[in-house]
């Protein structure tokens, strides 16, 4: 049984007369501990896919299983619990709480989890041990993203979902972030899904899912992923 399983997932947005098929009959699998990169052009449906997987949105048809559980049948409340416990999200624009320090930001997420990791330790693990009492506005973009990752990690989730994590970062910083993600996955066996439109990054992935116009064009396994430090673009 695959860790993540998408079965014939359809997502249709309806507003009045207009209906948009964001996902058409998407099916794929992801194994535990994999780094899975989802590529595709803008508007392909990548974010939608991730959102549904992350419990932020619901599908119209089909089924999604995570670690054997059918999350597509979850009620709204159950979805929230699912998000709480099982999912860690990393956004393109970090979305840190400006009013809380770095440490508090991570604590905020850790507080609501049943089995969190220590916030300060997680921050140190991402290399921000010296910035614990600073506010996000006092951090650079990369540092902020690292905080976001720490926040997601502290929750001790089953999987990490990253939506264009390097989109707002420069080349070098982006690479650092990706390294962090790579280390997390390789180091702790975390399943990481990364959405990007940069096809160069597919080299680091164990599995590459190509999405175009709402459908999965291809799912390819990469038996020998390249460490990010070796990838140039």
């Amino acid at each position: 049984m695959a860790f993540i399983q998408f079965e014939n997932v359809k997502k249709i947005y309806r507003s009045g007369e207009v209906s948009v098929e964001a996902l058409r009959d998407v099916s794929f699998q992801v194994e535990r501990g994999e780094i899975c990169v989802i590529v595709g052009p803008s508007g392909a449906g990548k974010t939608t896919l991730l959102n549904i997987l992350g419990g932020m949105d619901t599908l119209t048809e089909g089924r999604i299983r995570l670690d054997g559980e059918d999350i597509s049948a979850y009620s709204k409340k159950r979805l929230i619990t699912y998000r709480r416990r099982d999912v860690g999200f990393v956004f393109q624009f970090y979305n840190l709480i400006e009013n809380l320090t770095v440490l508090e930001n991570v604590e905020l997420a850790a507080q609501i989890c049943p089995d969190p990791l220590d916030a300060a330790d997680t921050l140190r693990a991402v290399g921000l041990g010296h910035r614990l009492d600073n506010f996000p506005s006092q951090l650079s973009g990369g540092e902020q993203q690292r905080v976001a990752i720490a926040r997601a990690l502290a929750k001790n989730p089953k999987l990490l979902l990253c939506d264009e994590p390097t989109g707002a970062l420069d080349y070098n910083t982006g690479k650092q972030i990706l390294k962090l993600l790579e280390d997390t996955s390789r180091g702790s066996g975390m399943t990481v899904l990364i959405i990007t439109h940069n096809s160069a990054l597919t080299a680091m992935a164990d599995r590459v899912i190509t999405v175009n116009s709402g459908s999965v064009r291809s799912v390819s396994l990469n038996p020998d992923p390249t460490p990010i430090s070796q990838i140039e673009w």
Partner: protein, 1079 residues
């Protein structure tokens, strides 16, 4: 339509909520502002219109003698007077529809001044018809009947006893529900009633109502000034008329007395003459009667003699008769004896004869037998067989038989001879008897005849005597009749004389009394009273003053808050759309053009809002206020629509200018930036350490989420400040609204339960002597428990340049001990002692208006120019009237005379009925007027009742304000932190947790705002309450504990309601779409 304009237009349509919110706030703010301000004007205008329709009087003239038509004409001739009309008013008991007796005040129907305004039906046209009070519930067709329980004096004033209601009306004399008090029945008048003048049988008017020339509108300052100007003239006019009335009354009375004197002496003269004549006649009659009596007596004597004679004759006659009778009787007896003897002899003879015959027969028989015997003897003899004995026997028998027979024969023959002799005697005796009998009969006849003669004579004499008796009896009767007549006449004459004398005495006495009374008629008191003396008029004035006071402050507050909210909303909107601004600038539109969009947006909202708010407010708020007051004032169902152009224009401009200014400033600020920057999203405000963080002790104990909240508060200072201000304002408004109620309503209770402990205040028409006082106390003892007498005068108090009318109460020595039972002097809880010489005790209201405290001096002045300089010894809490107190000694030493006792306070007996007590007091002859505390309390309390609507209105508006403020600001809050909220949701916060995350702020700010609102509310309340200026009542700002609780509780409640509404909004935030980055 240019695209730019379309943009604006669509902007409005797309987010109608925001546009409408601004619109709503402006409508509320401007409407309330203008509406309340205008309410007072509208109320006044409505009343003024009513008064002018009803030709309400300017002055009422009254005096203690009344007015005649000439007096009215004299008044009307005064150059200041436009119209004058006499009115007759009287109270009477009536039964309506067979119920309990009520007291009605009847008015003669006026035609020129104070004309009633018809509500339904028609005016009465004939004496049996009347116009009823619209307040009383009587309908057209009902009948009002004067109760037979009325005094004769009252009933005599009316020509008919019952009236049919032809119409129902309101009267300008009775603007509110008060109908006044009376000394009849229950003590208060139930309703008024207008009847045609022809229905009244009085030849004077009780008052004259006057309308003057050139009087400004009612209730305006100009009116009051002109009325003050005219008052001395009116007073002088009233006095002049009263004097001429007095003179004419006196001279009329005098001539009547003179006439009466003349009549009296004439009558006396007649009486004396008539009496003489009568006496004479009676004496003559008496003499005649005496003569007649003498004659009768003579006659009587004669008759008596006659009777004597007659009786003698009768005696003689009787004795003669008796003798004769006796003789005749003896003769008869003899005759009868003879007859009897004869008859006996005859009988003897007959029996003898019979015997003889018998004997003869027997003899014959015997003979026969002898023969037979012989025969038998012979035979026997012849017969041989006969025994010898037998034969001898037979022979013996025969011999005896023959002997017997022979003896018998002899007997028989002698008997026969005797019989024959007897017969011869009898026959001769018979003859004698016959002769005697004849003689006897002759004697009888003779006797009878002479007896008859004598009898006849006697009868004649008797008859004559009877006649004489009869004549005498007639004569006697006549005499007795005559005597009776005389005596009757005598008695009648005597009684008539006595009567006449009595009447003459009465008349004498009456004339003397009238003379005394005439001397007693005092010169009349006269009055000229302005409109302020009419209860309805001044109550209305007080009420409008309250509305005016409230309207001074509240709306300003609303305006400020509304302005603040709009400022926030618009600046938010501008900030949100900064990227749009940037784009437009980048496209090449000029700054003004770009700003134009926002100006149009806010401008449209403001213009529409202000215009509709002002119009709606001017129309609706007075209507609401009127609804509250119309319960007490029924003269008009609808309030006049008053549009205050200056006020409206100012308000309109104020709002428009301020909104546009805000928009300009906010826009301008943003637009100073470079377009590129505008297009980029605004970097979020950086987090900062808060001061509180340094207080490690507190900070460490705060939960996470509280830390977020605290930091947030300090991060968005302006929004937070706005929220606190808005909530504080809401709390303050509610506190003020309820606080006004507290300060005003409870004044009445407080005054009458803790300060004025008496039940009645009584004003007397003159100074009372000690006998008057005891007389009064015993007269009303059924209703009055305790009474204290002192002096009360109106004075003007002045200190510096300020002046105030006060009631000066002068307490003589005897009243000092008792007065604290009737008036409790205290301030707060501390009691205040009575003043001593040279000192004065003043009430709190006066001390505030004249700015006096203990130890300051003030001057009291009266109309006669006398004055007293006094030092304030104490200030006591008091709310109603300006009542100040000095001792009698102070008064005497200042003015050089003793104070008149013309006032009393009465505490009623327990269980006594208040209304009847009042009636009893009013019916005392020396009482000028009296008020019961119960009535005063009800009257003032009634005035305050309408306040509850004002308070409710305030609370509703405050609630609306709070609602809009919190809603708006929370909305903005959420808008600003949408990403943050979405992130938190993504992190897995449940909906309640997410809500709390956001709304925790609201809760904290609400509590802070409410706390801040309390002192604000206290200040506002104090300001408004002190602005309410009523002549009679002085208010102290008070806020009851309940008000604090309610204000804060309601504020929190409104806040919670908004938060609940926000919950929905929050739960609908879709994290996915919210986090879709601005790429």
């Amino acid at each position: 339509m240019t695209p730019l304009f379309k943009n604006t237009y669509r902007e409005i349509l797309r987010s109608p909520g925001r546009f409408l919110a601004i619109l709503a706030i402006i409508v509320l703010g401007s409407g309330f502002f203008v509406g309340l301000r205008v309410s007072e004007k509208a109320m006044t205008a409505t009343a003024a219109d009513y008064y002018s329709d009803a030709a309400f009087y300017d002055f009422s003239l009254a005096n203690t003698l009344g007015f005649t038509d000439e007096n009215v004409a004299a008044i009307a001739a005064d150059p200041n007077v436009m119209a004058a009309e006499g009115a007759f008013e009287t109270d009477a008991l009536v039964t309506v529809g067979g119920g309990v007796d009520l007291v009605y005040k009847f008015h003669s129907m006026p035609s020129a001044v104070n004309t009633p305004v018809l509500v339904s039906g028609r005016m009465p046209q004939s004496p049996g018809e009347c116009l009823a009070d619209s307040w009383s519930g009587i309908k057209v067709g009902d009948t009002v009947t004067l109760s037979p329980a009325n005094s004769d004096d009252t009933l005599e004033l009316f020509r008919t006893r019952s009236f049919t209601v032809t119409g129902v009306a309101t009267s300008p004399l009775y603007l509110n529900f008060e109908r006044g008090s009376t000394d009849l029945g229950s003590g208060s008048v139930s309703a008024f009633c207008y009847i045609p003048p022809e229905a009244l049988d009085a030849d004077y008017y009780t008052a004259v109502y006057v309308r003057c020339h050139d009087m400004p509108r009612a209730y305006s300052a100009a009116y009051d000034d002109r009325a003050d100007l005219l008052e001395p003239d009116m007073t002088a006019l009233s006095e002049a008329v009263a004097r001429s009335r007095y003179d004419s009354v006196i001279s009329d009375a005098q001539s009547e007395i003179d006439d009466a004197e003349r009549e009296y002496s004439d009558a006396l003269q007649d009486y004396l003459t008539q009496r003489e004549d009568a006496e004479r006649e009676l004496d003559e009659a008496k003499a005649e009667l005496d003569d007649a009596k003498a004659e009768l007596d003579d006659a009587k004597r004669q008759i008596d003699d006659g009777w004597l004679e007659y009786n003698d004759s009768v005696d003689e006659f009787n004795s003669g008769r008796l003798r004769g009778q006796e003789e005749l009787d003896s003769a008869r007896r003899e005759l009868e004896a003879a007859k009897a003897a004869l008859d006996a002899a005859a009988n003897e003879y007959d029996s003898g004869m019979a015997q003889y015959e018998e004997g003869e027969r027997q003899y014959s028989e015997g003979a026969a037998q002898l023969e037979q015997l012989r025969a038998a003897y012979e035979l026997a003899k012849a017969d041989p067989s006969t025994p010898p004995t037998v034969l001898s026997g037979l022979e013996a028998q025969l011999d005896s038989a023959s002997a017997t027979l022979a003896a018998s024969r002899q007997e028989l023959d002698s008997a026969k001879a005797g019989l024959d002799a007897a017969k011869a005697t009898i026959d001769s005796g018979r003859l004698e008897y016959e002769e005697n009998l004849e003689k006897y009969n002759a004697a009888v006849d003779e006797y009878n005849a002479s007896m008859a003669d004598a009898q006849a004579q006697l009868d004649d004499a008797y008859a004559d005597l009877l006649d004489a008796e009869a004549d005498y009896a007639d004569g006697l009767r006549e005499y007795e009749d005559g005597l009776q007549e005389y005596q009757d006449s005598r008695a009648q004459a005597d009684s008539e004389f006595a009567e006449a004398e009595e009447e003459l005495e009465d008349a004498r006495r009456k004339i003397d009394d009238a003379k005394l009374k005439l001397e007693d008629i005092e010169e009349p008191d006269s009055f000229a009273l302005g409109r302020w003396s009419n209860l309805g008029y001044s109550c209305f004035e007080s009420d409008t003053s309250i509305v005016k006071a409230i309207s001074a402050v509240f709306p300003v507050f609303f305006f400020l808050v509304a302005a603040l909210i709009c400022l926030t909303t618009v600046s938010r909107m501008v900030e949100e759309q900064r990227s749009q601004l940037g784009v437009l600038l980048a496209l090449g539109y000029s700054r003004p053009a770009v700003m134009g969009k926002f100006l149009v947006y806010s401008g449209t909202a403001t213009v529409l809002g202000a215009a509709s708010g002002i119009l709606l407010g001017s129309k609706l708020i007075p209507m609401v206020v009127w609804k509250a007051y119309n319960i007490m004032y029924v003269f008009s169902d609808s309030i006049k629509f008053v549009f205050d152009l200056p006020l409206s224009a100012i308000t309109f401009s104020l709002y428009v200018i301020s909104m546009l200014a805000v928009t300009l400033i906010t826009c301008g600020r943003e637009l100073r930036d470079v377009p590129a920057n505008l297009i980029r999203p605004k970097p979020p405000r950086s987090g900062k350490r808060v001061l509180l963080e340094r207080v490690r002790f507190v900070w460490d104990h705060l939960s996470f989420l509280w830390k977020v909240t605290v930091r947030n508060i300090f991060r968005y200072k302006s929004r937070v400040l706005m929220m606190i201000l808005g909530i504080a304002g809401c709390t303050a408004l509610m506190m003020t609204g309820m606080g006004i109620n507290d300060s005003i309503r409870n004044v009445v209770d407080y005054q009458f339960t803790e300060i004025s402990l008496y039940d009645y205040s009584v004003t007397f028409s003159d100074g009372l002597s000690p006998e008057d006082m005891t007389g009064f106390v015993s007269a009303v003892s059924e209703y009055a428990g305790r009474t204290v007498f002192f002096n009360q005068e109106s004075m003007t108090a002045s200190a510096g340049r300020e002046e105030k009318e006060v009631q000066l109460n002068v307490l003589p020595e005897e009243s000092l001990a008792a007065i604290p039972e009737f008036v409790d002097f205290h301030t707060g809880r501390a009691p205040i002692p009575l003043p001593s010489d040279g000192q004065i005790l003043i009430n709190s209201g006066l001390s505030e208006s004249l700015d006096l405290s203990v130890g300051d001096s003030l001057t009291l002045r009266n109309d006669d120019g006398e004055s007293m300089d006094l030092t304030v010894s104490g200030v006591y809490d008091n709310y109603i009237y300006n009542s100040v107190y000095v001792t009698g000694a102070t008064y005497t030493s200042a003015l050089g005379r003793e104070p008149d006792i013309n006032f009393a306070l009465v505490i009623k007996a327990p269980q006594a009925d208040s209304g009847q007590g009042l009636a009893a007091i009013l019916s005392q002859p020396n009482v000028l007027t009296s008020t019961s505390s119960v009535d005063l309390r009800a009257r003032i309390g009634g005035m305050m009742d309408s306040l509850i609507y004002i308070v409710l209105l305030t609370i509703v508006c405050a609630a609306a304000l709070a609602f809009v403020v919190i809603y708006n600001l929370t909305n903005i809050n959420i808008q600003e932190r949408l990403r943050e909220i979405a992130t938190v949701k993504v992190l897995g916060f449940y909906d309640p947790e997410t809500a709390l995350y956001v709304l925790r702020e609201n809760i904290l700010l609400t509590l802070l705002g409410a706390a801040a609102g309390i002192p604000l509310g206290l200040a506002l309340n104090a300001y408004v309450v002190t602005r309410i200026e009523l002549d009679m009542i002085h208010f102290t700002p008070r806020v009851l504990p309940a008000t604090y609780l309610w204000s804060v509780a309601l504020t929190i409640l409104f806040s919670l309601i908004v938060d609940l509404l926000m919950l929905r909004r929050l739960s609908h935030i879709d994290p996915a779409s919210a986090l879709k980055s601005a790429e």
